[in-house]
């Protein structure tokens, strides 16, 4: 573990970046991550990243929202203060369900959306107070940064490969 080193290649062209990922892959060197100012088509496949699980999170947050809304509506309008809804004093949850659907929908969307955003921030370590990881000042502007992890003995080869394939800068 100790002799693993990180090397960063900075690129200014999307195509060059994609080609470099391919050549590195062919030589058995794995690219750990790419920092890009915008989503690059086909990057996930090229890096061999797993599919995001945020959609599963979204579903779970949504279900939570639905349950919360049902609980809230039941408590407020049926249990704590029985309401006569639409001139139908049934005071039963399932009979008044149509009136609760809009609120349930809104709460589901609220929980799913906020849950996803918060999860995404937590997962990508974008929290207030966290030191931003700036490798190159233009990485969020128009430059792409490639993060390669390799053995110390291999460092020179990788550096040469990056330089040959058209990296603008190489950093450690």
């Amino acid at each position: 573990m100790s002799n693993k080193k990180l090397i960063y290649g900075v690129f200014d062209e999307e195509d060059v970046l994609m080609k470099t990922i391919k050549t590195l892959k062919e030589n058995g060197i794995a690219v750990k991550d790419v920092i890009s100012p915008y989503p690059v088509h086909g990057m996930d496949n090229a890096l061999g990243l797993n599919r995001t699980r945020i959609s599963i999170c979204c579903f779970l947050y949504g279900i939570t929202g639905t349950c919360l809304a049902f609980l809230m509506m039941w408590y407020m309008n049926i249990f704590d203060w029985p309401m006569d809804i639409g001139g139908k004093p049934s005071f039963a949850f399932y009979k008044n369900l149509p009136a609760f659907i809009p609120v349930t929908f809104e709460t589901t969307v609220l929980c799913a959306a906020h849950g996803m955003v918060i999860t995404f921030y937590l997962r990508s370590k974008l929290l207030p107070g966290v030191e931003p990881q700036v490798i190159h000042p233009r990485q969020a502007d128009d430059y792409f940064v490639m993060k390669v992890e390799t053995e110390e003995s291999n460092l020179v080869t990788v550096e040469k490969m990056l330089a040959d394939s058209g990296a603008v800068e190489i950093k450690y």
């Binding site: 088509h41 959609s55 579903f59 809804i85 639409g86 139908k88 149509p98 009136a99």
Partner: protein
């Protein structure tokens, strides 16, 4: 990025056996209708109308799908364009059958007194008659025979005309040098058609379906019918594409195209539920007797349809088609397409039948036989049309985009 594959001139062959299936289905339909008439079933006309309107509007949904593809210049759908085209070619058949059913019912109704549409009894409009109905008479500005006939003629002229126009130009494009020019022509035509569709689809829903319950009205009804017919058309497209792909006739359709169709099915199922529920909730909430009566009949006597359509048309698509992997499987599209198709058939059945026969309805072999007969005809017309042209439309300016489509 991907290797460009060879577009072959693959064609669907409408084999004798396949034709035979359609003919058997049509025969079953004819026997059912004749048996239905012979046994004096009071539901015969309502069955005919419900099935006819269901398949007619599905064809209309296919035409609408085609028009939005042209109007928004969509690239991915070029490879599946032959399917909505073929669906839309059922429109002349559907129109002819509708006219037959309306005329037939009007003539037999003169002696039996049972009209599909309540307002066809002219006594309701006569202030001297003991049967004078104030509410129906108040609608005479819209619901009168001459204007009704003009409207129906207008709908059919517009729909059939555009269906033939799009089909003709699309087939011509296959061997044309000026593919882009034809595309632009169809694009301009689709703009006009979409405006006409917005008007005719709403008016059609009032005329053919809502005026059965003459006293009742809902401002959302046109939209509600539109959503139902569009989901039906997408279900047919999904099933057809799924089957053709599994037979190896649609190599140009990859999982990304399938996902797009799955998305359409998923999204518009939710859209249908949204309108279905909005219409119900407002009426349920306000609890006004003349509005609620519509739902009372359905709730008391058609409860099974209520529950089934909700689960089949909403819960099943939303849970099963939610994941990306499900949308990308052709088998899943076929299964869900069939399910949603049946669900929307039930939806149309419960839109039309209660207004005609009220509580005394039944769903026996005669009803299912009639539906199978209409399905047989629809299937025959659609497959016959698909077989007439190559599976992949050539010379479209978006051809390459469709082949390269990735999500």
């Amino acid at each position: 990025m991907e290797a460009n594959f060879n577009i072959t001139d693959k064609r669907y062959e409408f084999t004798r056996n396949s034709k035979l299936i359609s003919f058997v289905l049509i025969a079953i339909g004819l026997i059912s209708v004749i048996a239905s008439f012979a046994t004096n079933s009071h539901q015969t006309w309502s069955n005919l109308l419900a099935n006819d309107i269901f398949f007619l509007t599905i064809a209309l949904g296919g035409l609408f799908f085609l028009a939005i593809q042209y109007a928004s210049e969509v690239g991915w759908s070029i490879g599946i364009r032959r399917i909505p085209e073929a669906i839309a070619m059922y429109l002349p058949w559907g129109a002819a059958l509708t006219i037959l059913i309306l005329v037939g019912n009007y003539i037999t109704g003169q002696s039996s007194g049972h009209f599909l549409y309540h307002w066809w009894h002219y006594e309701y409009f006569n202030p001297e008659s003991p049967e004078f109905d104030h509410v129906i008479a108040g609608k005479s500005g819209f619901l009168n025979m001459p204007f009704f006939m003009i409207r129906v003629a207008f709908y059919f002229a517009v729909w059939v005309g555009y269906a033939f126009y799009f089909r003709k130009l699309s087939v011509r494009q296959d061997n044309a040098l000026n593919g882009t020019e034809l595309h632009l022509k169809m694009r301009s035509a689709s703009y006009v058609f979409l405006v006409l569709f917005a008007i005719t689809s709403s008016l059609m829903a009032w005329d053919f379906i809502m005026s059965i319950d003459t006293h009742w009205y809902s401002t959302l009804f046109g939209w509600y019918t539109f959503s139902s017919l569009f989901v039906g058309a997408i279900a047919v497209i999904a099933v057809a594409v799924g089957i053709l792909k599994r037979r190896g006739l649609m190599d140009h359709v990859n999982e990304h195209h399938l996902q797009n169709i799955g998305l359409f099915l998923f999204d518009f199922s939710i859209f249908w539920t949204y309108l279905w529920f909005s219409q119900f909730m407002l009426i349920w909430y306000s609890n006004i007797p003349e509005e609620v009566s519509y739902f009372m009949v359905r709730q008391d006597h058609y409860r099974i349809f209520w529950i089934t359509t909700f689960f089949v048309n909403f819960v099943a698509p939303i849970l099963i088609l939610m994941t990306r992997d499900a949308k990308r499987k052709s088998m899943m599209l076929i299964v869900m397409g069939v399910l949603v198709f049946i669900g929307h058939w039930m939806d149309f059945f419960q839109m039309i039948t209660p207004g005609v026969v009220g509580a005394e309805w039944h769903l026996g072999w005669m009803e299912i036989g009639t539906a199978l007969g209409f399905f047989g005809l629809f299937r025959y017309v659609m497959l016959n049309e698909i077989a007439k042209s190559a599976m992949f439309p050539r010379n479209d300016p978006f051809m390459e985009e469709s082949l390269q489509h990735t999500l």
